[in-house]
């Protein structure tokens, strides 16, 4: 596979070159899919987000100023696309008081026995309610502050803190169960 620099990819895509469009997708589809898997509830939803995200990337390529890495710019578009998808779900940031992560979430006992690799942790994240998952992603992995999360999601800072606390509690339970088994 021919590799291109960021600048070459940008100018090629802007000129409508299908070679550059394909190269851009091949270069960034996997890392961006990993990001989106953390925000989505399953693989199918992550693929929908990825598709919409790449369409936006090609459409808005002219807005890339070259001030940072192309990958960072694409990642921001992907996260924004994920947020757009999540916002369509009514009250996606809400408390789930009776939520039980162990209830019909793990398909087999082998899930617990598996090592804590990225795929396993991803599956744990995807079992959280969308609000918990999104706030945990923003805070713990992306490194946003509660103020920034509140602004991004249109919620209060208190809600952001509460959602993070509950996400951690549920993940702790899952991990404890995993270690015990």
């Amino acid at each position: 596979m021919q590799s291109f620099s960021d600048q070459e990819l940008v100018s090629g895509v802007l000129q409508g070159s299908s070679t550059h469009q394909t190269a851009l997708y091949r270069q960034f589809s996997v890392p961006m899919f990993r990001v989106l898997l953390r925000y989505a509830k399953d693989r199918a939803e992550a693929e929908d987000m990825l598709q919409d995200g790449f369409v936006r990337v090609y459409r808005d390529m002219g807005q890339f100023r070259g001030e940072g890495a192309l990958g960072g710019w694409i990642r921001r578009i992907m996260v924004n696309t994920a947020l757009s998808h999540l916002r369509k779900q009514r009250d996606f940031v809400r408390d789930v008081p009776d939520f039980n992560v162990f209830e019909s979430k793990f398909h087999t006992e082998e899930d617990f026995a598996s090592n804590l690799d990225a795929q396993t942790l991803m599956s744990y994240l995807q079992r959280l309610p969308p609000g918990y998952r999104t706030v945990f992603n923003f805070y713990a992995i992306e490194g946003f502050s509660h103020e920034e999360i509140a602004e991004q999601l249109g919620i209060s800072i208190g809600t952001s803190k509460s959602q993070l606390f509950k996400a951690r509690e549920f993940l702790k339970k899952i991990l404890n169960k995993s270690f015990i088994s």
């Binding site: 899919f33 953390r38 804590l116 795929q119 945990f136 992995i141 992306e142 951690r168």
Partner: protein, 169 residues
């Protein structure tokens, strides 16, 4: 993102695991999207744009503004009629003819009113057509005024004429 955040061990576990992923996709394929995604992206890329693009809208707006400005300019100009040079002919001395009342001028009373009112007012006051005074003039109700220096003639049946008749008799 800049401020120091309180990280829990769980946060660290997830963060480090996802940051240290290898560049190459996993053999199991869990982090590789299906081919359907790229096919759909390509389909979207080859789709013609729906409706009006931003550029088209801007061009259309500019055209409308230009046409409107042109129309405004066109109608705000005074209408120019072809100017014909007047033929200059030697002008003879105009013969001063007795002025007749033109149609536009107010019709003056045939004679100054002798009744009430100052003479100046009566002379300058135009008599409108079909007015009572004009109708009087038409019906011959006005009596002839004596010329200056002549004896005033009395109407034959007036009281003064009968008195004079009686004196003569």
């Amino acid at each position: 993102m800049t401020e120091q955040q309180a990280q829990s061990p769980i946060d660290d576990l997830f963060q480090k695991t996802f940051e240290n992923l290898p560049d190459s996709p996993a053999e199991s394929g869990w982090d590789t999207p299906s081919d359907r995604v790229w096919q759909n992206v390509q389909t979207n890329l080859s789709k013609p744009k729906k409706g009006w693009g931003t550029q088209s809208l801007v061009l259309m707006a500019a055209l409308v503004v230009t046409v409107a400005a042109g129309l405004y300019w066109m109608f705000s100009q005074p209408i120019k009629t072809p100017v014909t040079q007047p033929v200059v002919t030697p002008v003879e001395q105009p013969v001063v003819a007795p002025s007749e009342p033109s149609e536009n001028q107010p019709v003056a009373s045939p004679k100054p009113s002798t009744s009430t009112g100052s003479g100046k007012d009566a002379q300058s006051k135009p008599v409108p057509r079909n007015s009572t005074e004009e109708q009087k003039a038409k019906s011959g109700d006005n009596t002839a005024q004596p010329l200056p220096g002549s004896k005033p003639t009395l109407p034959p049946n007036s009281t003064e004429a009968q008195k004079k008749k009686g004196e003569k008799n």
